[in-house]
């Protein structure tokens, strides 16, 4: 089983080398860039609010990077198989779900690099920057949130692209139906707010995207 995992990992590494490297560089750079402002102590009392604003604006890049990484890694995992119409994978001498598990695991191993990138990047940024009094840095919390976001994104896109066109079709159909019902409801001016409900279900509470919606603040009070 270990040899199989190494083989799958190698093949997946070869397909997603570029994504992993770029992702890691980006993940390493964002925290450093977000704390750039911290160094300028001459701003005095104005430094704190400006720093918080900068960290906030840079912070929005983390969920985007996480989603992009999840999507691209899932595509990289399945594109070659799709091209060969899965014949090669289906003729391998192991249970099908085991092969999918190997692919799934390999993806996570490769995604460890960008997550480490965020962790190291933010720790370095915090060491290098002089924070104004009262502000605290949370590199580990940020890295953990990024890790969760990446894994959820990867899992979602992995499931969609692993499924046959039929499952992808079903998902798209559901979304289309939602939009249709919402449009019809708004025309007949029923106060049916599907998107609001969907949003609360997904984002707030223990929805899948809850981890994306929180505060991506490297530095906070």
């Amino acid at each position: 089983m270990r040899a199989m995992f190494r083989a799958v990992l190698h093949s997946q590494w070869k397909w997603s080398r570029l994504i992993v490297v770029l992702g890691t560089v980006a993940a390493f750079a964002i925290p450093l860039l977000s704390l750039q402002g911290a160094a300028r102590a001459d701003r005095g009392a104005l430094q704190a609010p400006e720093l918080l604003r900068a960290v906030q604006s840079w912070g929005t890049l983390y969920p985007l990077l996480a989603t992009a990484l999840g999507l691209l890694m899932a595509i990289a995992a399945w594109a070659p198989d799709h091209r060969g119409r899965h014949i090669h994978a289906l003729t391998l001498p192991l249970a099908r779900w085991r092969y999918v598990l190997l692919r799934f695991g390999a993806g996570f191993v490769l995604l460890a690099a960008p997550i480490a990138g965020v962790l190291i990047g933010s720790s370095l940024a915090v060491l290098a920057a002089t924070l104004p009094p009262g502000l605290q840095a949370y590199p580990i919390a940020l890295a953990m949130r990024f890790a969760f976001a990446v894994s959820v994104a990867y899992a979602v896109f992995f499931a969609v692209s692993a499924g046959t066109a039929r499952t992808a079709g079903i998902i798209l159909a559901v979304i289309a139906a939602l939009i249709l019902v919402q449009v019809v409801a708004s025309m007949a001016n029923l106060n049916l707010d599907l998107f609001g409900a969907a949003q609360t279900a997904l984002l707030l509470g223990p929805g899948p995207l809850a981890v994306f919606a929180g505060r991506w603040m490297l530095v906070d009070v």
Partner: protein
């Protein structure tokens, strides 16, 4: 029942227009089993059913004694498969593909893989996508053979390749078979190649198995007869009348093509007041063509 592949009453339908109905197929262990049939007759589909890539509507498939698709993982471990279209990833190099495949097959034979790489003059660092058609075929054969399977399932492995490549592949196959006594299930359009190698032949058309017989029986059992003065209706002959047409150039002579022919059957004609002027041997290709024609006419008449 020590058939390598045993299929009983197999039903499979793909979309509206194509279906495999009532397929019964037996590949004896150790045989080199040729699978002939025109394009679109369901050969590749049958192979995919045998490998568990597709799920039949009904019927039982037993491969190497294990039920398919329940035990598909164990069976596939003992099978070497070469598909019609290259199914390997184009962005991996030859060496990576070999290492990848080796990781999945516990009985992987590194020595054979290394020896075949030299014999096939394959460059380990070449990307699979950039190999020529022949080299791709050789690599797939290399992988299939190095898996040390007891059964090789080859879907037109040498079609469209130049003679040199075909010669290399066939000799590698034959060496493998003689070393490991493996069974080969080979589907191909190159009838001469099958004629040379196979000891069993099956012919399939439009999802149905026309005939399945040892090479000798099929080849020597199909003859073309020049018959003089044969009555219109013949009553249950000991052989199978495949086609019957008046000889070109007029005259009372008729060209018959018959199956399951035994040398002593000319006496039957004297019995019905006809005479056999000549018995012409057919090679596998002519026999195959005649078989197909008669099957299709038989089907269209019905």
């Amino acid at each position: 029942m020590n058939d390598a592949i045993h299929i009983e009453r197999l039903h499979y339908r793909a979309g509206k227009n194509f279906a495999i109905k009532e397929l019964d197929l037996h590949v004896p262990t150790g045989a080199i089993y040729g699978f002939l049939g025109p394009n679109g007759s369901g050969k590749t589909t049958t192979i995919r059913l045998i490998l568990g890539l597709l799920r039949p509507l009904s019927g039982r498939i037993t491969v190497l004694g294990l039920p398919m698709p329940e035990q598909h993982a164990r069976i596939l471990g003992q099978i070497g498969y070469v598909p019609e279209q290259p199914h390997l990833d184009t962005t991996l190099t030859v060496r990576e593909l070999i290492d990848f495949q080796a990781a999945f097959y516990p009985r992987w034979d590194r020595a054979r893989a290394a020896e075949l790489i030299k014999r096939f003059e394959l460059d380990g660092e070449h990307l699979f996508g950039r190999l020529s058609k022949g080299q791709k075929a050789k690599l797939m054969i290399l992988l299939a053979l190095s898996q040390c399977g007891d059964l090789l399932v080859l879907d037109e492995p040498t079609d469209g390749l130049d003679p040199v490549v075909r010669r290399d592949i066939l000799s590698a196959l034959i060496t493998y078979v003689s070393e490991r006594g493996a069974t080969i299930f080979i589907s191909s359009h190159l009838v001469h190649e099958l004629e040379r190698v196979c000891d069993w032949i099956a012919v399939m058309d439009d999802g149905r198995l026309i005939t399945e017989a040892p090479m000798e029986k099929l080849k020597h059992g199909t003859k073309r007869l020049v018959v003089m003065g044969a009555p219109a209706e013949i009553v249950n002959p000991p052989f199978r009348v495949l086609t019957r047409e008046s000889a070109n150039g007029g005259g009372a002579g008729e060209n018959w093509v018959v199956g399951d022919w035994e040398p002593g059957m000319t006496s039957y004609f004297e019995g019905v007041g006809a005479s056999v002027r000549e018995v012409i041997d057919l090679d596998l290709e002519e026999g195959f063509v005649e078989l197909l024609r008669s099957f299709r006419e038989g089907r269209s008449r019905r």
